[in-house]
Protein backbone atom coordinates (compact mmCIF):
# COMPACT_ATOMS: atom_id res chain seq x y z
CA UNK A 1 0.00 0.00 0.00
CA UNK A 2 1.49 3.29 -1.09
CA UNK A 3 -1.06 5.72 0.30
CA UNK A 4 -3.20 5.15 3.36
CA UNK A 5 -5.38 8.12 4.29
CA UNK A 6 -7.67 7.86 7.31
CA UNK A 7 -10.37 10.37 8.27
CA UNK A 8 -8.48 13.34 6.84
CA UNK A 9 -10.01 16.65 7.94
CA UNK A 10 -8.87 20.08 6.86
CA UNK A 11 -10.43 23.17 8.36
CA UNK A 12 -9.60 26.68 7.15
CA UNK A 13 -10.35 29.66 9.29
CA UNK A 14 -11.56 32.53 7.19
CA UNK A 15 -12.50 35.84 8.75
CA UNK A 16 -14.06 34.37 11.88
CA UNK A 17 -15.93 31.54 10.15
CA UNK A 18 -14.66 28.03 9.54
CA UNK A 19 -14.58 26.24 6.22
CA UNK A 20 -14.43 22.46 6.36
CA UNK A 21 -12.60 21.80 3.10
CA UNK A 22 -12.10 18.11 3.85
CA UNK A 23 -14.55 16.33 6.07
CA UNK A 24 -13.21 12.88 6.88
CA UNK A 25 -11.62 11.37 3.78
CA UNK A 26 -10.31 7.81 3.91
CA UNK A 27 -8.62 6.44 0.80
CA UNK A 28 -6.12 3.68 0.05
CA UNK A 29 -4.02 3.77 -3.12
CA UNK A 30 -1.71 0.93 -4.16
CA UNK A 31 1.55 1.09 -6.02
CA UNK A 32 1.02 1.27 -9.77
CA UNK A 33 -2.46 2.74 -9.68
CA UNK A 34 -3.64 5.57 -11.96
CA UNK A 35 -6.25 7.55 -10.04
CA UNK A 36 -8.25 10.55 -11.24
CA UNK A 37 -9.64 12.84 -8.55
CA UNK A 38 -12.74 14.60 -9.82
CA UNK A 39 -15.27 17.03 -8.52
CA UNK A 40 -16.61 20.54 -8.91
CA UNK A 41 -14.63 23.48 -7.58
CA UNK A 42 -14.95 23.75 -3.83
CA UNK A 43 -15.43 20.00 -3.52
CA UNK A 44 -12.13 19.60 -1.63
CA UNK A 45 -10.16 17.86 -4.38
CA UNK A 46 -7.40 20.49 -4.42
CA UNK A 47 -7.10 20.38 -0.64
CA UNK A 48 -6.85 16.60 -0.85
CA UNK A 49 -4.07 16.93 -3.44
CA UNK A 50 -2.15 19.40 -1.25
CA UNK A 51 -2.29 16.92 1.63
CA UNK A 52 -1.24 14.00 -0.59
CA UNK A 53 1.62 16.15 -1.90
CA UNK A 54 2.79 17.03 1.62
CA UNK A 55 2.42 20.70 0.75
CA UNK A 56 0.04 21.09 3.66
CA UNK A 57 -0.88 19.26 6.85
CA UNK A 58 -4.31 17.92 7.83
CA UNK A 59 -6.15 19.42 10.78
CA UNK A 60 -6.78 15.86 11.93
CA UNK A 61 -6.56 12.35 10.55
CA UNK A 62 -3.71 10.15 9.47
CA UNK A 63 -1.70 9.99 6.26
CA UNK A 64 0.82 7.22 5.72
CA UNK A 65 2.98 7.43 2.59
CA UNK A 66 5.04 4.37 1.69
CA UNK A 67 4.83 3.03 5.24
CA UNK A 68 5.86 6.33 6.81
CA UNK A 69 3.42 8.40 8.80
CA UNK A 70 3.79 11.91 7.37
CA UNK A 71 0.64 13.62 8.64
CA UNK A 72 2.38 15.12 11.63
CA UNK A 73 5.71 16.00 10.05
CA UNK A 74 6.53 19.69 9.78
CA UNK A 75 8.46 22.14 7.63
CA UNK A 76 11.78 20.80 6.48
CA UNK A 77 10.80 17.15 7.08
CA UNK A 78 7.90 17.59 4.67
CA UNK A 79 10.28 19.26 2.22
CA UNK A 80 12.44 16.16 2.36
CA UNK A 81 9.44 13.88 1.69
CA UNK A 82 8.39 16.05 -1.28
CA UNK A 83 11.93 15.98 -2.61
CA UNK A 84 12.39 12.19 -2.37
CA UNK A 85 8.94 10.63 -2.79
CA UNK A 86 6.75 12.99 -4.84
CA UNK A 87 6.88 14.49 -8.30
CA UNK A 88 4.58 17.41 -9.10
CA UNK A 89 3.04 18.38 -12.43
CA UNK A 90 1.15 21.68 -12.40
CA UNK A 91 -1.45 23.24 -14.65
CA UNK A 92 0.81 26.26 -15.33
CA UNK A 93 3.96 24.10 -15.72
CA UNK A 94 5.82 26.32 -13.21
CA UNK A 95 9.14 26.21 -15.03
CA UNK A 96 11.78 28.79 -14.12
CA UNK A 97 11.75 31.18 -17.06
CA UNK A 98 15.39 32.18 -17.42
CA UNK A 99 17.09 28.84 -17.30
CA UNK A 100 17.29 26.08 -19.92
CA UNK A 101 15.10 22.99 -19.84
CA UNK A 102 17.87 20.72 -18.57
CA UNK A 103 18.46 22.94 -15.53
CA UNK A 104 14.75 23.06 -14.81
CA UNK A 105 14.77 19.27 -14.73
CA UNK A 106 17.83 19.31 -12.48
CA UNK A 107 16.18 21.52 -9.85
CA UNK A 108 14.87 18.80 -7.46
CA UNK A 109 18.31 17.13 -7.58
CA UNK A 110 19.92 20.43 -6.55
CA UNK A 111 17.92 20.34 -3.34
CA UNK A 112 18.72 16.65 -2.93
CA UNK A 113 22.38 17.66 -2.77
CA UNK A 114 23.48 15.75 -5.88
CA UNK A 115 26.60 16.88 -7.77
CA UNK A 116 26.40 18.77 -11.03
CA UNK A 117 27.66 15.96 -13.30
CA UNK A 118 25.23 13.41 -11.93
CA UNK A 119 22.41 15.95 -12.12
CA UNK A 120 23.03 16.67 -15.80
CA UNK A 121 23.25 12.95 -16.59
CA UNK A 122 19.93 12.18 -14.90
CA UNK A 123 18.19 15.28 -16.27
CA UNK A 124 19.23 14.46 -19.84
CA UNK A 125 18.04 10.88 -19.36
CA UNK A 126 14.62 12.13 -18.22
CA UNK A 127 14.38 14.62 -21.07
CA UNK A 128 14.98 11.85 -23.57
CA UNK A 129 12.37 9.73 -21.79
CA UNK A 130 9.79 12.47 -22.51
CA UNK A 131 11.20 12.90 -26.04
CA UNK A 132 12.88 16.28 -25.58
CA UNK A 133 16.57 15.31 -25.60
CA UNK A 134 17.22 17.79 -28.42
CA UNK A 135 15.56 20.67 -26.52
CA UNK A 136 17.75 20.49 -23.42
CA UNK A 137 19.30 23.92 -23.97
CA UNK A 138 16.07 25.71 -24.81
CA UNK A 139 14.55 28.12 -22.37
CA UNK A 140 10.86 27.55 -21.55
CA UNK A 141 9.75 30.51 -23.68
CA UNK A 142 11.29 28.80 -26.73
CA UNK A 143 9.16 25.68 -26.19
CA UNK A 144 5.50 25.02 -26.98
CA UNK A 145 3.03 24.48 -24.17
CA UNK A 146 3.03 20.72 -24.63
CA UNK A 147 6.84 20.65 -24.65
CA UNK A 148 6.93 22.75 -21.49
CA UNK A 149 4.58 20.35 -19.74
CA UNK A 150 6.76 17.42 -20.83
CA UNK A 151 9.79 19.23 -19.33
CA UNK A 152 7.78 19.58 -16.13
CA UNK A 153 7.00 15.84 -16.21
CA UNK A 154 10.71 15.11 -16.68
CA UNK A 155 11.37 17.29 -13.64
CA UNK A 156 8.77 15.33 -11.64
CA UNK A 157 10.39 12.02 -12.63
CA UNK A 158 14.03 12.92 -12.09
CA UNK A 159 14.17 11.99 -8.39
CA UNK A 160 12.54 8.63 -9.14
CA UNK A 161 9.59 9.36 -6.86
CA UNK A 162 7.04 6.89 -5.54
CA UNK A 163 4.17 9.06 -6.74
CA UNK A 164 3.37 11.58 -9.47
CA UNK A 165 0.77 14.19 -8.55
CA UNK A 166 -0.65 15.99 -11.57
CA UNK A 167 -2.92 18.97 -10.88
CA UNK A 168 -4.98 19.76 -14.01
CA UNK A 169 -1.98 18.95 -16.22
CA UNK A 170 -3.90 19.62 -19.43
CA UNK A 171 -5.73 22.74 -18.21
CA UNK A 172 -3.44 25.12 -20.08
CA UNK A 173 -3.10 23.03 -23.24
CA UNK A 174 -5.19 22.62 -26.36
CA UNK A 175 -7.02 19.31 -26.57
CA UNK A 176 -4.63 17.62 -29.02
CA UNK A 177 -1.55 18.47 -26.93
CA UNK A 178 -3.50 17.56 -23.80
CA UNK A 179 -4.05 14.07 -25.19
CA UNK A 180 -0.31 13.73 -25.86
CA UNK A 181 0.52 14.68 -22.30
CA UNK A 182 -2.09 12.27 -20.91
CA UNK A 183 -0.72 9.51 -23.13
CA UNK A 184 2.71 10.16 -21.66
CA UNK A 185 1.36 9.88 -18.10
CA UNK A 186 -0.46 6.70 -19.09
CA UNK A 187 2.73 5.25 -20.51
CA UNK A 188 4.59 6.08 -17.28
CA UNK A 189 1.85 4.34 -15.31
CA UNK A 190 2.14 1.32 -17.54
CA UNK A 191 5.83 1.19 -16.60
CA UNK A 192 4.80 1.00 -12.93
CA UNK A 193 4.60 4.61 -11.77
CA UNK A 194 1.75 5.55 -9.44
CA UNK A 195 -0.10 8.58 -10.81
CA UNK A 196 -2.74 10.68 -9.07
CA UNK A 197 -4.46 13.22 -11.29
CA UNK A 198 -6.80 16.07 -10.45
CA UNK A 199 -9.17 17.16 -13.17
CA UNK A 200 -12.71 18.28 -13.79
CA UNK A 201 -12.77 17.03 -17.36
CA UNK A 202 -14.18 13.57 -18.04
CA UNK A 203 -12.13 13.34 -21.25
CA UNK A 204 -9.00 13.60 -19.15
CA UNK A 205 -10.22 11.37 -16.36
CA UNK A 206 -10.88 8.52 -18.74
CA UNK A 207 -7.12 7.91 -19.04
CA UNK A 208 -7.15 6.82 -15.38
CA UNK A 209 -8.09 3.37 -14.18
CA UNK A 210 -9.81 4.50 -11.01
CA UNK A 211 -11.94 7.56 -10.37
CA UNK A 212 -12.45 9.27 -6.98
CA UNK A 213 -15.36 11.68 -6.97
CA UNK A 214 -15.37 14.50 -4.41
CA UNK A 215 -18.27 16.63 -3.19
CA UNK A 216 -18.46 18.89 -0.17
CA UNK A 217 -15.23 17.60 1.30
CA UNK A 218 -16.14 13.95 1.06
CA UNK A 219 -15.48 11.06 -1.32
CA UNK A 220 -18.80 10.29 -2.95
CA UNK A 221 -17.61 7.99 -5.71
CA UNK A 222 -14.81 5.41 -5.93
CA UNK A 223 -14.96 3.14 -8.92
CA UNK A 224 -12.93 1.52 -11.67
CA UNK A 225 -12.98 3.29 -14.96
CA UNK A 226 -15.73 1.54 -16.89
CA UNK A 227 -14.55 2.77 -20.25
CA UNK A 228 -11.11 1.38 -19.71
CA UNK A 229 -12.33 -1.82 -18.15
CA UNK A 230 -14.59 -2.38 -21.06
Amino acid sequence: MLIRARELVKVYRMGGGEVRALDGVSVDINEGEFVAVMGPSGSGKSTFMNLLGCLDRPTSGEYVLGGKRVSDLAGDELALVRNRRIGFVFQQFNLLARIPAVENVELPLVYAGIGKKERVRKALAMLSKVGLQDRADHQPAQLSGGQQQRVAIARALVTEPALILADEPTGALDSRTGVEVMALLQELNRQGMTVVLVTHEHDVARFARRILGFRDGRVVQDEHNQALAA
Partner: protein, 410 residues
Protein backbone atom coordinates in the same frame (compact mmCIF):
# COMPACT_ATOMS: atom_id res chain seq x y z
CA UNK B 1 23.10 23.72 -1.26
CA UNK B 2 26.57 25.21 -1.30
CA UNK B 3 27.45 28.87 -1.55
CA UNK B 4 28.75 28.61 -5.10
CA UNK B 5 25.41 27.21 -6.31
CA UNK B 6 23.55 29.93 -4.42
CA UNK B 7 25.87 32.56 -5.86
CA UNK B 8 25.15 31.32 -9.38
CA UNK B 9 21.41 31.54 -8.77
CA UNK B 10 21.83 35.02 -7.29
CA UNK B 11 23.90 36.34 -10.19
CA UNK B 12 21.40 34.96 -12.68
CA UNK B 13 18.49 36.55 -10.82
CA UNK B 14 20.31 39.90 -10.63
CA UNK B 15 21.18 39.74 -14.33
CA UNK B 16 17.48 39.50 -15.21
CA UNK B 17 16.92 43.08 -14.00
CA UNK B 18 20.28 44.65 -14.78
CA UNK B 19 19.20 48.27 -14.51
CA UNK B 20 17.29 47.66 -11.30
CA UNK B 21 20.24 45.79 -9.77
CA UNK B 22 22.63 48.58 -10.78
CA UNK B 23 20.42 51.30 -9.31
CA UNK B 24 20.01 49.31 -6.11
CA UNK B 25 23.77 48.97 -5.81
CA UNK B 26 24.23 52.69 -6.37
CA UNK B 27 23.40 53.52 -2.76
CA UNK B 28 26.08 51.15 -1.51
CA UNK B 29 28.52 52.32 -4.21
CA UNK B 30 28.17 55.94 -3.13
CA UNK B 31 28.28 55.07 0.56
CA UNK B 32 31.43 52.98 0.31
CA UNK B 33 33.11 55.50 -2.00
CA UNK B 34 32.32 58.30 0.45
CA UNK B 35 33.69 56.30 3.39
CA UNK B 36 36.90 55.55 1.46
CA UNK B 37 37.39 59.18 0.43
CA UNK B 38 36.64 60.53 3.91
CA UNK B 39 39.02 58.12 5.58
CA UNK B 40 41.71 58.80 2.98
CA UNK B 41 41.42 62.57 3.38
CA UNK B 42 41.14 62.37 7.17
CA UNK B 43 44.12 60.05 7.49
CA UNK B 44 46.08 62.29 5.14
CA UNK B 45 45.38 65.35 7.27
CA UNK B 46 46.35 63.43 10.39
CA UNK B 47 49.60 62.26 8.80
CA UNK B 48 50.40 65.86 7.97
CA UNK B 49 49.83 66.99 11.54
CA UNK B 50 52.03 64.19 12.81
CA UNK B 51 54.75 65.17 10.37
CA UNK B 52 54.64 68.75 11.54
CA UNK B 53 54.85 67.61 15.13
CA UNK B 54 57.96 65.63 14.28
CA UNK B 55 59.42 68.67 12.48
CA UNK B 56 58.78 70.91 15.47
CA UNK B 57 60.04 68.42 17.98
CA UNK B 58 57.49 66.89 20.26
CA UNK B 59 59.53 67.22 23.46
CA UNK B 60 59.42 71.00 23.71
CA UNK B 61 58.24 73.31 26.48
CA UNK B 62 57.60 76.96 25.86
CA UNK B 63 57.96 79.41 28.75
CA UNK B 64 56.55 82.90 28.30
CA UNK B 65 56.54 85.83 30.70
CA UNK B 66 53.42 86.47 32.73
CA UNK B 67 50.96 89.25 32.28
CA UNK B 68 51.53 92.80 33.42
CA UNK B 69 48.92 95.14 34.73
CA UNK B 70 48.98 98.68 33.45
CA UNK B 71 46.48 101.00 35.15
CA UNK B 72 44.14 98.13 36.02
CA UNK B 73 44.28 96.71 32.50
CA UNK B 74 45.75 93.24 32.47
CA UNK B 75 47.74 92.64 29.30
CA UNK B 76 47.97 89.00 28.29
CA UNK B 77 50.75 86.48 28.68
CA UNK B 78 54.05 87.65 27.23
CA UNK B 79 53.44 91.27 28.00
CA UNK B 80 55.49 91.20 31.18
CA UNK B 81 59.20 90.93 31.51
CA UNK B 82 59.52 88.40 34.28
CA UNK B 83 61.92 86.04 32.50
CA UNK B 84 65.62 86.79 32.34
CA UNK B 85 68.75 85.23 30.96
CA UNK B 86 69.59 84.22 34.51
CA UNK B 87 66.47 82.01 34.52
CA UNK B 88 67.80 80.29 31.40
CA UNK B 89 71.19 79.73 33.02
CA UNK B 90 69.47 78.39 36.14
CA UNK B 91 67.33 75.92 34.15
CA UNK B 92 70.37 74.62 32.32
CA UNK B 93 72.22 74.23 35.61
CA UNK B 94 69.44 72.83 37.84
CA UNK B 95 67.52 70.63 35.39
CA UNK B 96 70.21 68.52 33.77
CA UNK B 97 67.76 66.64 31.49
CA UNK B 98 66.64 69.88 29.88
CA UNK B 99 68.26 72.26 27.44
CA UNK B 100 66.97 75.83 27.67
CA UNK B 101 67.41 78.57 25.09
CA UNK B 102 66.11 82.16 25.29
CA UNK B 103 64.65 84.13 22.47
CA UNK B 104 63.96 87.82 22.21
CA UNK B 105 61.61 88.66 19.39
CA UNK B 106 61.02 91.74 17.32
CA UNK B 107 60.65 92.78 13.74
CA UNK B 108 62.74 94.95 11.51
CA UNK B 109 63.45 95.91 7.94
CA UNK B 110 66.49 94.36 6.31
CA UNK B 111 68.37 95.87 3.38
CA UNK B 112 70.95 94.38 1.05
CA UNK B 113 72.04 96.44 -1.91
CA UNK B 114 68.79 97.73 -3.35
CA UNK B 115 66.69 94.80 -2.05
CA UNK B 116 64.74 95.12 1.18
CA UNK B 117 62.52 92.82 3.24
CA UNK B 118 60.63 93.07 6.51
CA UNK B 119 61.06 90.07 8.74
CA UNK B 120 61.18 88.79 12.29
CA UNK B 121 64.32 89.23 14.35
CA UNK B 122 65.22 86.74 17.08
CA UNK B 123 67.94 87.33 19.62
CA UNK B 124 69.07 83.83 20.62
CA UNK B 125 71.93 81.74 21.95
CA UNK B 126 73.59 78.91 19.98
CA UNK B 127 71.48 76.42 22.01
CA UNK B 128 68.41 77.75 20.21
CA UNK B 129 69.35 75.78 17.10
CA UNK B 130 69.75 72.59 19.15
CA UNK B 131 66.47 73.10 20.96
CA UNK B 132 64.55 73.74 17.74
CA UNK B 133 66.49 70.94 16.00
CA UNK B 134 67.30 73.33 13.23
CA UNK B 135 70.49 72.62 11.29
CA UNK B 136 72.36 75.11 9.11
CA UNK B 137 72.24 74.78 5.34
CA UNK B 138 75.47 76.77 5.01
CA UNK B 139 77.94 78.69 7.15
CA UNK B 140 78.52 78.45 10.91
CA UNK B 141 76.75 79.27 14.14
CA UNK B 142 77.63 81.99 16.70
CA UNK B 143 80.95 81.77 18.55
CA UNK B 144 81.22 82.46 22.30
CA UNK B 145 83.18 85.62 21.67
CA UNK B 146 80.44 86.89 19.36
CA UNK B 147 77.84 86.14 22.02
CA UNK B 148 79.74 87.94 24.73
CA UNK B 149 80.79 90.89 22.55
CA UNK B 150 77.39 91.54 20.96
CA UNK B 151 78.93 90.99 17.55
CA UNK B 152 76.97 92.15 14.51
CA UNK B 153 76.58 88.70 12.92
CA UNK B 154 73.38 87.07 11.70
CA UNK B 155 71.94 83.70 10.61
CA UNK B 156 69.20 84.14 8.05
CA UNK B 157 66.21 81.93 7.25
CA UNK B 158 65.71 80.43 3.82
CA UNK B 159 62.91 82.83 2.93
CA UNK B 160 64.97 85.89 3.85
CA UNK B 161 67.92 84.53 1.85
CA UNK B 162 65.71 84.07 -1.20
CA UNK B 163 64.06 87.48 -0.87
CA UNK B 164 67.32 89.41 -0.46
CA UNK B 165 69.83 87.43 -2.45
CA UNK B 166 67.73 85.46 -4.91
CA UNK B 167 69.97 82.64 -6.05
CA UNK B 168 73.17 84.46 -4.97
CA UNK B 169 75.37 83.38 -2.04
CA UNK B 170 74.50 85.31 1.14
CA UNK B 171 77.55 84.13 3.16
CA UNK B 172 79.83 86.95 4.36
CA UNK B 173 77.60 89.56 2.76
CA UNK B 174 76.85 92.67 4.75
CA UNK B 175 73.15 93.37 5.34
CA UNK B 176 71.66 96.31 7.21
CA UNK B 177 69.12 95.69 9.95
CA UNK B 178 67.59 98.92 11.20
CA UNK B 179 70.56 100.71 9.61
CA UNK B 180 73.05 98.59 11.56
CA UNK B 181 75.40 96.59 9.31
CA UNK B 182 75.50 92.84 9.99
CA UNK B 183 77.60 90.09 8.46
CA UNK B 184 75.66 86.97 7.33
CA UNK B 185 77.55 84.00 8.81
CA UNK B 186 75.07 81.25 8.00
CA UNK B 187 71.81 80.20 6.34
CA UNK B 188 69.23 78.02 8.11
CA UNK B 189 67.75 74.94 6.51
CA UNK B 190 64.19 75.09 5.23
CA UNK B 191 61.69 74.30 7.99
CA UNK B 192 58.47 74.92 6.11
CA UNK B 193 55.10 75.99 7.45
CA UNK B 194 54.23 75.86 11.11
CA UNK B 195 51.08 74.16 12.39
CA UNK B 196 49.33 77.51 12.28
CA UNK B 197 50.39 77.94 8.67
CA UNK B 198 52.93 80.70 8.88
CA UNK B 199 56.33 80.60 7.21
CA UNK B 200 58.94 79.56 9.75
CA UNK B 201 61.80 80.36 7.42
CA UNK B 202 61.04 84.09 7.35
CA UNK B 203 63.40 85.17 10.17
CA UNK B 204 66.87 86.35 11.16
CA UNK B 205 68.74 85.02 14.21
CA UNK B 206 71.42 87.05 16.01
CA UNK B 207 73.16 86.91 19.41
CA UNK B 208 70.66 87.88 22.09
CA UNK B 209 72.90 90.60 23.42
CA UNK B 210 73.23 92.14 19.96
CA UNK B 211 69.47 92.08 19.48
CA UNK B 212 68.84 93.67 22.85
CA UNK B 213 71.40 96.46 22.60
CA UNK B 214 71.46 97.31 18.89
CA UNK B 215 68.17 96.32 17.28
CA UNK B 216 65.22 95.67 19.58
CA UNK B 217 66.00 96.55 23.12
CA UNK B 218 65.37 99.38 25.50
CA UNK B 219 67.69 100.60 28.22
CA UNK B 220 65.75 98.88 31.04
CA UNK B 221 65.54 95.63 29.11
CA UNK B 222 69.27 95.73 28.66
CA UNK B 223 69.80 96.27 32.35
CA UNK B 224 67.55 93.42 33.47
CA UNK B 225 68.63 91.06 30.68
CA UNK B 226 64.98 90.07 30.10
CA UNK B 227 64.04 87.54 27.42
CA UNK B 228 60.84 87.13 25.43
CA UNK B 229 60.46 83.38 25.58
CA UNK B 230 62.42 80.42 26.83
CA UNK B 231 62.38 77.23 24.79
CA UNK B 232 63.09 74.12 26.84
CA UNK B 233 63.86 70.79 25.19
CA UNK B 234 63.56 67.64 27.28
CA UNK B 235 66.10 64.89 26.73
CA UNK B 236 64.73 62.16 24.46
CA UNK B 237 63.95 59.48 27.01
CA UNK B 238 62.50 61.84 29.62
CA UNK B 239 58.80 62.53 30.08
CA UNK B 240 58.14 66.18 29.23
CA UNK B 241 55.66 66.32 32.11
CA UNK B 242 58.45 65.67 34.61
CA UNK B 243 60.63 68.40 33.10
CA UNK B 244 57.62 70.71 33.05
CA UNK B 245 57.17 70.24 36.80
CA UNK B 246 60.87 70.80 37.53
CA UNK B 247 61.07 73.96 35.42
CA UNK B 248 57.91 75.34 37.00
CA UNK B 249 59.18 74.67 40.55
CA UNK B 250 62.56 76.23 39.74
CA UNK B 251 61.09 79.39 38.21
CA UNK B 252 58.59 79.82 41.09
CA UNK B 253 61.45 79.50 43.55
CA UNK B 254 63.64 81.97 41.65
CA UNK B 255 60.79 84.45 41.33
CA UNK B 256 60.06 84.05 45.07
CA UNK B 257 56.37 83.21 44.56
CA UNK B 258 54.39 82.28 47.68
CA UNK B 259 52.80 78.83 47.81
CA UNK B 260 49.32 79.94 46.77
CA UNK B 261 50.31 82.63 44.29
CA UNK B 262 49.76 82.35 40.54
CA UNK B 263 52.71 81.74 38.24
CA UNK B 264 54.17 84.95 36.83
CA UNK B 265 54.97 83.09 33.63
CA UNK B 266 53.14 80.64 31.42
CA UNK B 267 54.49 77.21 30.69
CA UNK B 268 53.14 75.31 27.70
CA UNK B 269 53.89 71.74 26.90
CA UNK B 270 53.91 71.56 23.09
CA UNK B 271 53.44 67.81 23.18
CA UNK B 272 50.04 68.35 24.77
CA UNK B 273 49.14 71.05 22.30
CA UNK B 274 50.03 68.70 19.47
CA UNK B 275 48.20 65.82 21.05
CA UNK B 276 45.08 67.95 21.27
CA UNK B 277 45.46 68.98 17.65
CA UNK B 278 46.00 65.41 16.56
CA UNK B 279 42.99 64.27 18.54
CA UNK B 280 40.80 66.93 16.96
CA UNK B 281 41.85 65.95 13.45
CA UNK B 282 41.14 62.33 14.29
CA UNK B 283 37.69 63.24 15.59
CA UNK B 284 37.02 65.15 12.40
CA UNK B 285 38.01 62.17 10.26
CA UNK B 286 35.80 59.92 12.35
CA UNK B 287 32.89 62.31 12.05
CA UNK B 288 33.22 62.45 8.28
CA UNK B 289 33.34 58.66 8.09
CA UNK B 290 30.23 58.48 10.26
CA UNK B 291 28.37 60.85 7.95
CA UNK B 292 29.48 58.78 4.96
CA UNK B 293 28.26 55.60 6.60
CA UNK B 294 24.77 57.08 6.86
CA UNK B 295 24.58 56.85 3.07
CA UNK B 296 25.64 53.21 3.38
CA UNK B 297 22.67 52.71 5.67
CA UNK B 298 20.36 54.37 3.15
CA UNK B 299 21.82 52.08 0.49
CA UNK B 300 21.00 49.13 2.72
CA UNK B 301 17.40 50.22 2.99
CA UNK B 302 17.30 50.41 -0.82
CA UNK B 303 18.48 46.82 -0.97
CA UNK B 304 15.81 45.71 1.48
CA UNK B 305 13.17 47.50 -0.56
CA UNK B 306 14.17 45.84 -3.83
CA UNK B 307 14.55 42.43 -2.19
CA UNK B 308 11.00 42.70 -0.83
CA UNK B 309 9.76 43.52 -4.34
CA UNK B 310 11.77 40.63 -5.71
CA UNK B 311 10.34 38.18 -3.17
CA UNK B 312 6.81 39.22 -4.10
CA UNK B 313 7.51 38.97 -7.83
CA UNK B 314 8.99 35.53 -7.44
CA UNK B 315 6.41 34.06 -5.08
CA UNK B 316 5.52 31.30 -7.55
CA UNK B 317 9.18 30.47 -8.09
CA UNK B 318 9.57 30.17 -4.32
CA UNK B 319 6.48 27.96 -4.16
CA UNK B 320 7.85 25.71 -6.89
CA UNK B 321 11.26 25.45 -5.25
CA UNK B 322 9.53 24.46 -2.02
CA UNK B 323 7.40 21.88 -3.82
CA UNK B 324 10.45 20.17 -5.32
CA UNK B 325 12.17 20.01 -1.93
CA UNK B 326 13.77 23.35 -0.98
CA UNK B 327 14.04 23.64 2.77
CA UNK B 328 13.60 26.84 4.76
CA UNK B 329 17.34 27.42 4.85
CA UNK B 330 17.65 26.91 1.07
CA UNK B 331 15.20 29.72 0.35
CA UNK B 332 16.64 31.89 3.12
CA UNK B 333 20.14 31.33 1.75
CA UNK B 334 19.09 32.05 -1.82
CA UNK B 335 17.68 35.48 -1.06
CA UNK B 336 20.30 36.34 1.53
CA UNK B 337 23.09 35.54 -0.92
CA UNK B 338 21.31 37.66 -3.51
CA UNK B 339 21.18 40.66 -1.16
CA UNK B 340 24.78 40.20 -0.06
CA UNK B 341 25.88 39.86 -3.69
CA UNK B 342 24.22 43.19 -4.43
CA UNK B 343 25.87 44.90 -1.50
CA UNK B 344 29.28 43.30 -2.05
CA UNK B 345 29.45 44.14 -5.75
CA UNK B 346 28.32 47.64 -4.82
CA UNK B 347 31.03 47.71 -2.17
CA UNK B 348 33.76 46.67 -4.59
CA UNK B 349 32.65 49.20 -7.20
CA UNK B 350 32.55 51.77 -4.39
CA UNK B 351 36.12 50.93 -3.39
CA UNK B 352 37.27 51.47 -6.97
CA UNK B 353 35.33 54.71 -7.25
CA UNK B 354 36.45 55.95 -3.82
CA UNK B 355 40.09 55.17 -4.55
CA UNK B 356 39.84 56.98 -7.87
CA UNK B 357 38.14 59.98 -6.26
CA UNK B 358 40.77 60.12 -3.50
CA UNK B 359 43.59 60.12 -6.03
CA UNK B 360 41.77 62.79 -8.04
CA UNK B 361 41.38 64.95 -4.93
CA UNK B 362 45.06 64.57 -4.18
CA UNK B 363 45.93 65.60 -7.74
CA UNK B 364 43.46 68.43 -8.19
CA UNK B 365 43.21 69.99 -4.73
CA UNK B 366 46.72 69.14 -3.65
CA UNK B 367 45.47 67.59 -0.42
CA UNK B 368 47.41 64.92 1.26
CA UNK B 369 45.56 61.57 1.20
CA UNK B 370 46.36 58.26 2.80
CA UNK B 371 44.68 55.12 1.44
CA UNK B 372 44.94 52.32 3.95
CA UNK B 373 44.09 48.67 3.21
CA UNK B 374 42.35 48.55 6.58
CA UNK B 375 39.96 51.30 5.54
CA UNK B 376 39.17 49.45 2.30
CA UNK B 377 38.65 46.18 4.18
CA UNK B 378 36.49 47.96 6.72
CA UNK B 379 34.28 49.53 4.04
CA UNK B 380 33.82 46.22 2.21
CA UNK B 381 33.10 44.41 5.47
CA UNK B 382 30.58 47.10 6.34
CA UNK B 383 28.90 46.64 2.94
CA UNK B 384 28.76 42.89 3.61
CA UNK B 385 27.16 43.42 7.00
CA UNK B 386 24.64 45.84 5.46
CA UNK B 387 23.72 43.17 2.89
CA UNK B 388 23.19 40.52 5.56
CA UNK B 389 21.32 42.88 7.86
CA UNK B 390 18.94 44.35 5.28
CA UNK B 391 18.69 41.14 3.25
CA UNK B 392 17.65 39.01 6.19
CA UNK B 393 14.11 40.29 6.60
CA UNK B 394 13.06 39.81 2.93
CA UNK B 395 14.81 36.42 2.84
CA UNK B 396 13.02 35.27 5.96
CA UNK B 397 9.75 36.48 4.48
CA UNK B 398 10.43 34.32 1.41
CA UNK B 399 11.46 31.29 3.47
CA UNK B 400 8.30 31.49 5.57
CA UNK B 401 5.90 31.46 2.64
CA UNK B 402 3.31 28.72 2.66
CA UNK B 403 4.01 26.53 -0.41
CA UNK B 404 0.32 26.04 -1.25
CA UNK B 405 -0.39 29.77 -1.25
CA UNK B 406 2.88 30.59 -3.00
CA UNK B 407 2.06 28.16 -5.85
CA UNK B 408 -1.40 29.65 -6.25
CA UNK B 409 -0.05 33.27 -6.25
CA UNK B 410 -0.86 35.20 -9.43
Amino acid sequence: MNVVALLRIALRALAVNKLRSALTMLGIVIGVAAVIVMIAVGAGAQARVEEQIRALGSNLLLVMPGSTTAGGVRLGFGSGSTLTEDDVVAINREVPEALAAPALRGSAQVIWGNANWSTQIFGVTPEYLDVRQWPLAAGRTFEPAEMAGAAKVALIGATVARQLFGSGDPLDQSIRIKRVPFTVIGVLEVKGQSLMGHDQDDLILMPIKTARSRVLGTASAARNRTVGTIWVKAADEVDTKVIEGQVRALLRQRHRLAAGADDDFSLRNLQEVMAAQEASSRVLALLLAAVASVSLLVGGIGIMNIMLVSVTERTREIGLRMAVGARTRDILGQFLVEAVTLSLIGGLVGVALGTGASVAIAQLAGWRILLSPQAVALAVAFAFVIGVFFGFYPARKAARLNPVEALRFE
